[in-house]
Structure formats: structure tokens, C-alpha cells
Symmetry: C2
Subunit: 615 residues, 2 copies
């Protein structure tokens, strides 16, 4: 077991080797923006998936809707520049809301963010796999998409493993694929729009064309739904504000300008892709599952190498986006754990210096989502973004409160900016909640309060334990006067002798061996052999009409325990240990069951005396 772990996870790393790299703006953009930028891969498609319900005519609304989302993006980005300035040590939604609005808003933000990080992994990995299956589909291998779930699960496994090993926070790993993605999408957008304007756009050819429905009329509801769907483009833009300390000095200034650049790139790519989708008539294809970006790319560049680069770069940046959640989720879980809102296992670093339990939890839940949604990222999107907008709203509202409290220089301007941001994101949050409610968002809206309740009960439990264990007002306990020992035996053999001896030496005048009679013949044999081998310990045989071991043993132990007031009762269990761990399965696990059951018995000390088999 240990060897398998070493092979997969690697050798332990010493605590003193913990270090942090300081990032330049160029590498910081790559490290922090993969989540935000990668949403270009599915945001346009999400809008079109809704608009298509209004028929072909509705598809033209995509660009104005994307424009609205772009405005929202810019507003939120400006608002977050304030957070960066105020929290140079990192201001995640949980911290900002907790510090400025109080415990409950903090926990709501935390629950929302944890939920969203799980969705980030599931959505990004599924979208990445969709980029690959679209490529395969174009290249005559449509069967690859039948294995989408397996591929996605394998990717989650690899990313989880990489994070358990501890990915170095090395900018270079992120820089190449991120800039390759940005470059390839910008080339697609610039070349595509240019050629379209010069020579006209040629429509996407589809092997199997999806039917255009005319079910819903184009109305405000449809537009709001499409807008809500597109808001997934905003996920991840808060990442820079969490990670300010990783920037080179002056941290806040560098982080701010990186955020500005990121939003500029994101808006350009998002609007460009949406323009191209419209011009070429790309529409979500439920039959082939080919992505909209893939349709556009192969229509503009043909099935050749450029198309290949775009698809592969998209897939890689989506995996990187998932990877950022592997930094965020365990860190937030460790904050919550440190504040006693999550089990303390989340706050201990494993032997590779990473928060292993948070990483494993994230991997598990995102894999579960991938299985439930069969790696269909478009189906998961209604659940996504709700959490982020809750966190946006609470975090910016917290900033407004902070400005009023601290009244730093220029606080009024800051308060106005954050106020506009908070108001806008709150309105969008309502739109998201209402339009996506029946499409799955209800699940998130039920889950977050449940999480808050769980956080609070965990908190209460830890506080209660701390109070109960506190030495304040405790008396030094009186010394032990007397030992009573009960040796449980299942027969008489070499493995039992050391336990009998141990019991004798612990309580020479007060030791008994106990045996449960399940078979009268066996019992008679045992009693006969006890004369020779019993080490002078008296044998007590208990009857058990229902063949249960535990009940008669417990009754006897309670009886013995009641005999003296000033003694401590030790139950001695002889355990023979097989030479190989797997041989444990071949022996009754009764010893283990008895030990577990005895733990709930007050005033009983349980002692295991092992006998090791040689082979």
C-alpha cells in the first residue's frame, strides 16, 4: 500500500522546502486567467443553446446579449480592482464577506464557492473533452464521443494525482498553453472576421443538422435566459484578487493591471467568437455534440493543422482551468477548517505539503458530477455561475461596508464603484436564480443553505469538545489504586498465552479469562486443556443462546466493572497477527468488532496483546 502511494504521489517533502514563487505580470496572467479565459470555449454555445428555442430568427440576438455580458464583465473587473487594493494578502469571497458582513454571509459565500469550484472542475474537464471529441468527430472518428465520460474521469484522475504530488507553482507550465490558446483564438477571430467582411461568411456544414425548433416566441424571458446562460463567462475573474501575494512588488498595482488585461482579452475573444458563430450560422448540435468553436474553426480554417491547434489548445486550457480549482478549493477548505467550520483533516498538509484531503474531496465530487451529467458540460451550466454570483455580490457588498467603515483616501469613489458592482451582480443573481431555477439551479440553492447548516454544526461540535477537554477548573485525578483484568479467549493456543501472562502481571489477584460457549463439545475440550495451559488464570464460561459473542461479554464486563469503585478495568484481547496483511481477511474480525464496541463502554481500558505468526 505504502509503495503504491509512493509510486503515485512521490516521496515526502520536508516542511522547510515550502516556498512561493513571485510572478511577473506576464506569467501571473497565465497562472490566474485560465479559468476566466477558458469560458470562451462554452459561453457562446450556452447562449445559443437557449436562443435556438426561439428558432433561427432568435439566433441574431446572441451578439447584443454577449455585449451586455461584456459590460457586466468590465463593471465587475473595476469593482474587483478595489478588492485587490484593499486586500493585498488575498481577498477571497469568504474572507471579505466574513470580515465585513459577518459570519453568516461569510459562510454563504464559502458554501457558494465550494460548490462552484466542484462545478468548475466538472464543467471545464467536460468542455475540454468536448473539444477533443469534436476534433475526432471532424476527423472521422465520431465513436470517440461514446467514451467522453471515461476520458473525463481519467483527466480528473490525472489532475487530482498531479495536485496530490504538488504541482510546482511554476508559471512556465501555464504560460505556454494559455498564450497558445489566446493566440489561436485571436487569430481565429481576427482572420475569420477579416475574411468574412471581405469575402462573406460561408455557412457551417453539418453532417447531421439539428432541427430548428419554433417552440418559444422571442420574448423577454428567452432573452433573460440566454443572458443568464452567457454569464458563465464571468466565472474565474475573481481569481486574481485571491492571489495578490503571488505578484511581484508592487503587488496590488501589478495585480490590478493584470486584471485589466485579462478582461480586455476575455471580452475580445468572447465577442469575436459570438460574432463568428452568428456569421457562420454555427449552432449547438445535440446529435454530434460538436462544439460551436469547433464548427467555426473548421469552417474558417478547414480540417487541417490550424483547426487541430485550436482544438488542442482549447482542451489544454480547460484542463488548466480545472487545475485552478484544485488550488482554490483546498485553500478555502483549509481556511474553513482552521476556523472550525469543516473537519480538521482539511487543514493538515500531507507529506507532499499539499492539502491532500481537500484535493481528494474535490476530485471525488467533480467525478460524481461528471458521471451524473454524463460529461455534458452544457447540461451542467445551469448549476454553474450561481455560486460565483453569490460570492461576487457578497464580496462587493462587503467592500462597500468596508469603505464606509475605514473611510480610506478616495473611499467615496471606491464605494460607488463597488456599490454599482454589487447592485449589478445582485440583479444578475436574481435573473440567474429565476431563469435557471427549474433547470437545475434549485439544487445549488438547496445545497448552499444545507452547507451553511453543516458548517455551523461542525463549529458547535468543535467548540463543545474544546470546552469539555479544557483543563480550566479541572482537578488532577486521584491515583489508581487497583487493576482488574479480563482476558477474552476464543480457545487456548500459543497466541493466547502472552495475553494471559499480561493479564496476570497487571492484576495478579484480580484476573479472569472469559470464554463464550457456542458449542458444548468445544467448551468441554477447552476446560480440559485449561488445567495445563491456563497460566493459573481462572476460566469463566458464558452462555449465549443466540450465538452472539458481544452481548454476554458485555454483560460480564459490566458486572466486573461494578464490583469495585476505585479500580480500573482492563479488557485484554489476545490478537494473533498474520505474516501478510491480506491474510487478515481469512480470520474472524471479531477482535476488531469487540474493540470498537468496547470504546463506547465507559471506564474500560482495552489492551491488545499481539502474537505474530512467522509465515
Amino acid at each position: 500500500m505504502g509503495q503504491i502511494k509512493r509510486f503515485l504521489v512521490g516521496k515526502p517533502i520536508a516542511t522547510e522546502h515550502q516556498h512561493h514563487e513571485r510572478l511577473s505580470r506576464i506569467t501571473a496572467l497565465a497562472v490566474f486567467s485560465s479559468d476566466a479565459l477558458s469560458s470562451v470555449a462554452y459561453a457562446t454555445e450556452a447562449i445559443l443553446t437557449i436562443l435556438i428555442l426561439g428558432g433561427a430568427a432568435a439566433l441574431g440576438l446572441a451578439l447584443p446579449i454577449a455585449g451586455g455580458i461584456a459590460v457586466l464583465l468590465v463593471v465587475v473587473a473595476f469593482s474587483y480592482r478595489q478588492t485587490i487594493r484593499a486586500y493585498p494578502k488575498g481577498g477571497g469571497g469568504y474572507i471579505v464577506a466574513h470580515e465585513n458582513l459577518g459570519k453568516l454571509p461569510g459562510l454563504i459565500a464559502a458554501g457558494a464557492l465550494l460548490t462552484d469550484y466542484v462545478l468548475t472542475v466538472a464543467v471545464s474537464i467536460s468542455a475540454g473533452v468536448a473539444a477533443i471529441t469534436s476534433l475526432a468527430n471532424t476527423w472521422g472518428a465520431p465513436w470517440v464521443k461514446d467514451y467522453a465520460v471515461e476520458i473525463a474521469l481519467f483527466c480528473i484522475f490525472l489532475v487530482t494525482l498531479a495536485n496530490l504530488r504538488g504541482v510546482k507553482e511554476s508559471g512556465a507550465i501555464f504560460a505556454v498553453p494559455t498564450y497558445a490558446f489566446v493566440a489561436s483564438i485571436l487569430v481565429l477571430v481576427v482572420y475569420g472576421i477579416g475574411m468574412d467582411l471581405l469575402f462573406g461568411a460561408k455557412p457551417v456544414e453539418q453532417h447531421i443538422t439539428p432541427e430548428l425548433l419554433h417552440g418559444e416566441t422571442i420574448g423577454l424571458w428567452l432573452i433573460l435566459r440566454a443572458f443568464a446562460a452567457g454569464c458563465t463567462a464571468l466565472t474565474g475573474i475573481e481569481a486574481i484578487s485571491d492571489g495578490v501575494p503571488a505578484f511581484r512588488s508592487p503587488e496590488a498595482k501589478n495585480a490590478s493591471s493584470t486584471l485589466t488585461w485579462m478582461v480586455a482579452i476575455l471580452v475580445t475573444m468572447f465577442l469575436g467568437i459570438t460574432w463568428l458563430a452568428n456569421a457562420h450560422g454555427a449552432i449547438p448540435n445535440e446529435i454530434t455534440h460538436e462544439t460551436v468553436v469547433s464548427q467555426i474553426a473548421r469552417t474558417i480554417f478547414g480540417n487541417g493543422p490550424i483547426y487541430f491547434v485550436i482544438q488542442v489548445a482549447t482542451a489544454i486550457i480547460l484542463v488548466l482551468a480545472a487545475n485552478t480549482a484544485y488550488a482554490d478549493f483546498p485553500r478555502l477548505a483549509s481556511f474553513l477548517s482552521r476556523d472550525r467550520f469543516l473537519p480538521r483533516q482539511f487543514s493538515s498538509r500531507g507529506d507532499r505539503l499539499v492539502f491532500s484531503n481537500g484535493i481528494l474531496a474535490l476530485g471525488f465530487f467533480s467525478a460524481l458530477l461528471v458521471v451524473i451529467f454524463q460529461a455534458n458540460e452544457i447540461a451542467m451550466l445551469p448549476l454553474y455561475a450561481i455560486g460565483v454570483f453569490i460570492s461576487f455580490t457578497l464580496s462587493q457588498a462587503g467592500m462597500v461596508r468596508r469603505h464606509f467603515r475605514i473611510k480610506e483616501e478616495g473611499w467615496k469613489r471606491g464605494a460607488v464603484i463597488n456599490g454599482i458592482g454589487a447592485t449589478l451582480t445582485a440583479i444578475v443573481l436574481v435573473v440567474l436564480a429565476v431563469t435557471k431555477f427549474t433547470h437545475g439551479a434549485w439544487a445549488v440553492m438547496v445545497l448552499i443553505p444545507i452547507l451553511v447548516v453543516i458548517f455551523n454544526s461542525i463549529h458547535r461540535h468543535y467548540n463543545s469538545v474544546a470546552r469539555q477537554l479544557s483543563l480550566e477548573g479541572a482537578d488532577l485525578p486521584i491515583a489508581l489504586r487497583r487493576h482488574t483484568a479480563v482476558v477474552l479467549v476464543s480457545g487456548i493456543h500459543r497466541g493466547v498465552l502472552p495475553a494471559l501472562q499480561y493479564g496476570s502481571s497487571l492484576a495478579p489477584d484480580n484476573v479472569t479469562a472469559v470464554y463464550v460457549n457456542l458449542d458444548p463439545d468445544q467448551t468441554a475440550k477447552l476446560q480440559q486443556r485449561w488445567r495445563d495451559w491456563g497460566c493459573n488464570v481462572p476460566l469463566v464460561v458464558l452462555e449465549s443462546p443466540y450465538r452472539s459473542l458481544i452481548t454476554p461479554l458485555f454483560n460480564y464486563i459490566q458486572e466486573m466493572d461494578a464490583r469495585y469503585d476505585d479500580d480500573v478495568l482492563t479488557v485484554v484481547l489476545p490478537e494473533f497477527v498474520p505474516a501478510h496483511w491480506w491474510e487478515h481477511m481469512l480470520h474472524n474480525q471479531t477482535g476488531f468488532l469487540i474493540k470498537t464496541a468496547l470504546m463506547f463502554n465507559k471506564n474500560v481500558v482495552v489492551t491488545s496483546v499481539p502474537y505474530h505468526l512467522e509465515r
Copy 2:
């Protein structure tokens, strides 16, 4: 946990209430024949599934092939009448082969039978569900078949549960559905053939007609494959020979004549259904998954109540057939366990007097098969029957050997009958193995030798343990002279004090408390408070550069252990026990890990001193 178990499984039953009912021939037929008779539900379809590959013309071969199988049935039945006479206490394949041919043939028969019992459950339950989904399909609810896997798993769950509760061996429960099934199929056969002969047969109407392929030419290979497929009709006919002691006196005579009756009924039903399938052109429908029996029944009787009764009776007898495997598998597993070929957990009766572990194992593996094969019983059939024919051949060969050894009255006639049976089943076994090999039978043929190897390694392990634990030649160990105690502490709080005290009283002059330094600040605080609360036990602080608890502790314990030769080292673990079991999850499981790891350390006794939290 205990309450859930009580609710599901029921109250414990006292050992003295173990009893056995003696069965009349009428009820015995019902109890022992459900497995054999129920194969009528799929055997004809299995033949047609192969013949259809040869096109419409090949379908006419079904009746002669079924005739051949009927002859085989009669021969095997005659052969088993000898076994009944020779083993009035029950002669299963394992016992007969083990006793007459030796250990290896016995284990092969055992492995083959265990495999086949698992398949009996999976195939029978799936076929039972197919009867219900066919009914639903005819009655306009084709969507029911989409839930076939879930329904099958639920049935397995119910049958497992019923057996864990301990189904009374009450003939009445079996008699009604078994005779209802026999009666309804006989009515179908007699009425159907009569009407067909008088008025001609009307062809089966199918909503969706499967295409008739013309892929394979009709040749010997196709005929052999179809024959092999139909041999599933023989599964279960050995059941009576296992259960002779359950018959009323004269046991052997009653069992023999019951076997004869069973085979007569089985042959009649099987040939009748095959005749009707041919006459009405019923063919396996891969699209609707409607069974052949359902097609025939609704064509002859319409969609009304008689059709309903036939389908429901079929489903019920198939569930009963699965239920018989729940008696056979745990019993055989308990024999193997008693003979030390399987873990001993299989030989202990649970508190409801049944072999709970065998029942759970059977439920688990058959559920696994249902999931793998998506409850498609026809797809499972190639794996089925191989095991039964291995057991047939070995058991009858063993009988031949026995006749030559014992030379009882009329032994020559017996040897000839068993010899013919053994030879025929051996030939069919070869046909089965060859024709079904690539369709999945290879898996069974790989599995059985693996099982035999496992049986043998378990046997070797138990023998080696018994030798090592034997008191023969053992010396009474010398008395313990000296105790050394090491108390592991993770801090100082009320939960630690009793453990320190216990350590002190065990080894007053030789006790230390050990703490692993993971955080210098915490350590300094602990050392300061130790003066007041350390109960005069010296504190040792260990360094751990890799944040591991186990490694430094182990090194220290080894060091302490090496100090004296004549002492016993006790590691004392303070454990605080939360008031509710689920609260355990909120605390580090380090104590448990350390305990497990220490078990592999020689000469170390592990003692848990609990401190119980109040709430």
C-alpha cells in the same frame, strides 16, 4: 446501525430453534424443481437466438435440437437416480467428486458450482424481469424495459434480504407458484398445440420486427452452437440429489420418483414451447426485448388475463429459481469453509441461523453480473451451464468409480448407467466449451482454475496457522518481570490525564509521554503547561521534518523496546470518544492509524484509555 439491521433482518433466533421440515413428494417437487423448470422460460429462446443467424430456414431445426436435449435430460436424470440411492444424506457435486475422485476434482466441481450458482441468480432474475417487461411492452408500457437493471437489482436485494432473515423451508411458499407455473405453461402448450392442429397457427404480430439475417450458412457448427445454447435447460436437475434428506421416508425412493416426475414435466414443457415457437414464428426480438414465451402466449390467448397469469407465474418461478441458489451457494461455501478451503467466516451462522456471509457474497456477485450484462439474460447464457456440466461429469464419473470400489448389489448396471451419463455430459461439456468459448465461456474457464488455486492457498494458510498456534511442544512462557509504558500525547487536555495515570500505575519508574513536534509554537506551549498537568510523567518531544507522526514515533518505540530484554512495552493511547458515532469523522483518525501500524510491531502491547465526552 444495529436498529437498521434489526428492522431489515429481524430479531436473533436461538440456536435451539434450528429445525428441518420433512417434505412430501408433492411439495418436494415444488421446492427442488423451480431452478430446473424455470429454464423453460429461456432455453427455447437461447436456441432460436443462435439459429436465427442462419436465417428463417434454420429456425425449423429448433425442434429436433430440443429433442436431442430432451434425450440428454432423460439420460442424466437416470444417472442421478443412482446418486440419490448412494448418498441418502445428500450428494452434491463437491462431495461426490471429492470422496470418489480426490481433492482436486472435488475443488474443480466446487469452483464450477459456485460460479454457476451466481449465474443462476443473475440469469433467473434477469429472465424474470424480462417476463415482466415483455408484459409491460405488450400492454403499452415499453419504457419499463429501460429500468430492467434497476428492477433486477431490487429483486436481488429483496431475495438476499429474505434469505438473511431466514426463509422458512416451508413447502407451501413454493408449491403455489410452482404449480401455477406448470399449470399455466401446460395449458398454453396443450391448448396452443390443439388449436394450431385444428385451425392452423397464426403468426406472431410484432410492432417492430427484427431483421432476419442470412450471415451464416446452416451447418454442423450452427447446430452444435444451438444445441449448446439449449443445454441451459439441464441446469438445476441435480438439485434433488443434493436434498435427499429433506424427503419423507423412504427418502431415496421418494426422491427418485420426484426426479422422474420433474424431468417428465420439464421435457413436456420444453418441447411444447419449442413446438409452439416454431409454429407461430416467434423469434428473439432484440429491439423490443420481448421474450419468446410472451410472444407465443399473447398470440394464442390475446393480451388478456390468461397471458397476464402466464407472464407473472413465469416471473415468480424465476425468482424462486434464484432463491434456490441462495440455499445452495451458502451451504457449499460452508462445506468448503469447514474443510478450510474458504475463509472461516462462511461457516458461521448469523444471528438468524443462516450462513449470512455466503448469502451476502452471492447477492453481491450476482448484482455485479446483472450490472455488467445490463440484465440481459440471453447475453449471460454462454457463461452459464459450463459449470453445471463440469459438475455433472465429475459427479457421475465419481459414481462410476464408487460402483467399482464398493461393488454393491447391482453395481454393474449402476456403473453402466453412470458411465453413459458421464460420457454424454463430458461430450456435451466439450461442445459447450468449444462453441461458447469466444462468447464468454472463456471467462468461466479461466475463473474455475483461479478459484481452485485460491482454495488451495487458503487451505495452506489455515494449516500453517494451526501448526504455528499449536500448543504441542510449547513451553509455558516465563512470567513478566518488568513493564515499560509510553503514552502518546497530541497535546494536554482532560482526555490525556487518565492515560498518563494509567501509564504511571503500570510502570511507575519507567513511563514517558511522547509528543511529535509539528509546530514549534504549539510545542513550547505544551512544554509550559506540562509542569502543572503532566502527572509527573516525563515528556519527550520528537522532531518530524516531514510532518509524519508515525515514523518518529516508531523509531522512538523501537529504541525504548531495545532497552531491556525482559520487559514488555505497552503503548498507551489516550482516546477521547465523542458522544455520537458520526462525530468520529470530525476528528483525526491518527489514533486508529497508529494502532493498526503498531499491530505489525513485535512485542508491543497497545492500550487504549478512553475519555468519554458528554455531548
